[in-house]
Subunit: 342 residues, 2 copies
DNA sequence: GTTAGCACTCATCAAGGTGGAGTGCTAACG
DNA sequence: CGTTAGCACTCCACCTTGATGAGTGCTAAC
């Protein structure tokens, strides 16, 4: 357990470092006023804090920088949650004033704004459509054996996929099958669609067996999970203003990771609900070992729809980001209640 | 007019520079074998070429580098169009072997491959849907005054937009209007849709005036040109391997430009048909004043659908990129004839 | 327990020196 | 007369050196 004074000093060091990106010396802490001790005393404490693993020294006779453990302690115990500034609030308001219709647009736009307010990069994992309910299904033949399958969900989300239609299927029969689907299975979560189609179609199975079979195959294609399209990265260039990214090699490894959709999907979908802070190597991807990732899940009607994440250097303004994400989620709730769909 | 020998030397210098990214000296040209003159002679010619504006000297006693005018002359007269290598062909083939369905997917995927083969960045401007023909229109009500409008074009492209429905419109009447649209206006280019709706609906105007009016408003919303969504950038990180981008500031200005969708749209849609080469300041955007942009338009059934562009440093392997774009467009033609839609 | 003082370490920066790559010029060569 | 060898010159890139200063750890005094 840290003493009161150690906490004070650790907090002061991390705050300083977040601002300056440079190792913090004992003298500068002493001069700041809020820690009323001489540099020598502070040095002693710093040595202790280093031994305990909260601080690191890039080299002898440089100041100290926080270790990952240090950041962790800061986030869990010391950090004061910034109140959102007037300016930030104004930006948020003007954003919510502009009429936003689709949930996804709201979230993406919000992510962009946070990215600009913080100069970090934001990443949005869009809603996973398999949990949404079917609103409408449509099959538009294109000629040949191709058709466009369109799925509209209850949240207004539209998925479309070009599918191949088995040659032995009659199109007008298919239309009946599609009508059946729309009449009987509207409101069913996409995930359950196939199994429900089986059970619902039970009685008519004999007559329409072939069409149902064909429809199943098409659904299979249409609901095939979309790899891209759920992931939106914005403000990638913002992070280039951070001094830790003045080295192009680092930038490249980071951007390469961001481009690797499957990895990012895995990373994001594994995030628990609520606001999460992952510091440095707590993310087990080498490319972001010197970054921190703060994520928040967003939800509609109680069940979570997606994740929004802010990626920055470990020397991140945790307080600001967390309070902005908080402000967003509370405002978003308002927003969606007011004018969104549903 | 340049003499034979001057052309030879200029070509050799540019080829060398493209490979090495470093100023080229007279000795290294002389040693290459294909120019059988002594360094002194070459130096004299280089001095002349510099006076003529084809070469530049970063500073006294450095080698020469090509000027923009030099690159231009190279592209127009000297460059030998690389034959595509076996390896590249193999990559292309395996790409075309995997069944691609949608035109846009083909082009995007192709752009990515070229980007990887060349280590430059590729940009695709997708087809402008207003020139495509209507295949199917659908309106899915979401509850409240919202609905999803879906437009399918003859190329299999799907656009969807959430629209607001005027409160005074009856939904079942609207359905009739939509059916009318699908029956009578299928095959009409989206651009003409509104005017054709007027003329076609002429006779029934009296009875259905209100619905047609409402439909017009909805079409207005649904066809509102999409800002994003037409532009795809891939291989952004590839360009980071180029030595000219080892400075983060340059990277930032470039990436900022790439993120600025409207500017990029303007830049790309102003490109004439065929293969175009814009060198350095020939693009009038400061951010890419030290870059070259090679674009090719792609077409289906004669009318052009979009543009694919490769962005790299002025010291670009022009021959390779141009031949790859060529190979792509010829192969793409095959591809689309074979298995694509239409 | 706290603080002043001091020797020590080490990154950073500017100044000076060196090597090498490359040039331009001149004179000689075929 | 075009081509080439030779040479002095330029200038960048690199290294070394020394000075500066920020910061530490330790010790002794308060």
């Amino acid at each position: 357990m840290l003493t009161e004074r150690q906490q004070l000093i650790l907090g002061a060091i991390i705050n300083d470092y977040i601002r300056s990106a440079e190792p913090v010396g004992s003298r500068s802490i002493s001069k700041r006023g809020d820690v009323g001790f001489s540099p020598a005393t502070i040095r002693n404490e710093m040595a202790d804090l280093e031994e305990l693993g909260f601080l690191e020294q890039p080299h002898t006779s440089a100041g100290r920088i926080p270790s990952i453990q240090g950041y962790r302690y800061y986030v869990d115990h010391l950090m004061k949650h910034d109140s959102v500034t007037d300016n930030e609030l104004k930006t948020m308001r003007s954003f919510f004033a502009s009429r936003m219709i689709e949930m996804e647009q709201v979230v993406q736009h919000a992510a962009m704004i946070i990215s600009n307010l913080t100069n970090y990069t934001s990443i949005v994992l869009g809603p996973d459509s398999v949990n949404q309910a079917l609103k409408h299904f449509q099959l538009v033949p294109l000629g040949g054996d191709k058709a466009v399958a369109i799925v509209v969900t209850d949240t207004g989300h539209v998925e479309n996929r070009t599918v191949t239609i088995p040659a032995d299927l009659d199109m007008s029969d298919m239309e009946k099958a599609v009508r059946f689907l729309n009449e009987r299975l509207s409101g069913v979560p996409l995930l359950r669609l196939k199994s429900r189609l089986f059970s619902e179609a039970g009685e008519e199975m004999g007559r329409y067996a072939e069409q149902i079979e064909g429809l199943l195959g098409i659904l299979e294609q249409a609901l095939r999970p979309e790899q891209d399209g759920r992931l939106f990265v914005s403000g990638t260039t913002n992070i280039l203003t951070q001094p830790e990214f003045k080295d192009v090699d680092k930038v490249k490894t980071l951007f390469d990771l961001l481009d690797e959709t499957p990895t990012m999907l895995k990373l994001f979908s594994s995030m628990p609900e609520g606001i999460q802070v992952r510091i440095g190597t707590e993310n087990d991807h080498e490319a972001i070992a010197s970054c921190s990732l703060i994520t928040a899940t967003y939800a509609l009607d109680g069940h979570s729809l997606g994740t929004i994440g802010i990626l920055g250097p470990t020397r991140m303004d945790y307080g600001k980001v967390i309070s902005l994400l908080g402000a967003l989620s509370s405002n978003m709730h308002l927003m969606i209640g007011r004018g969104g769909q549903r």
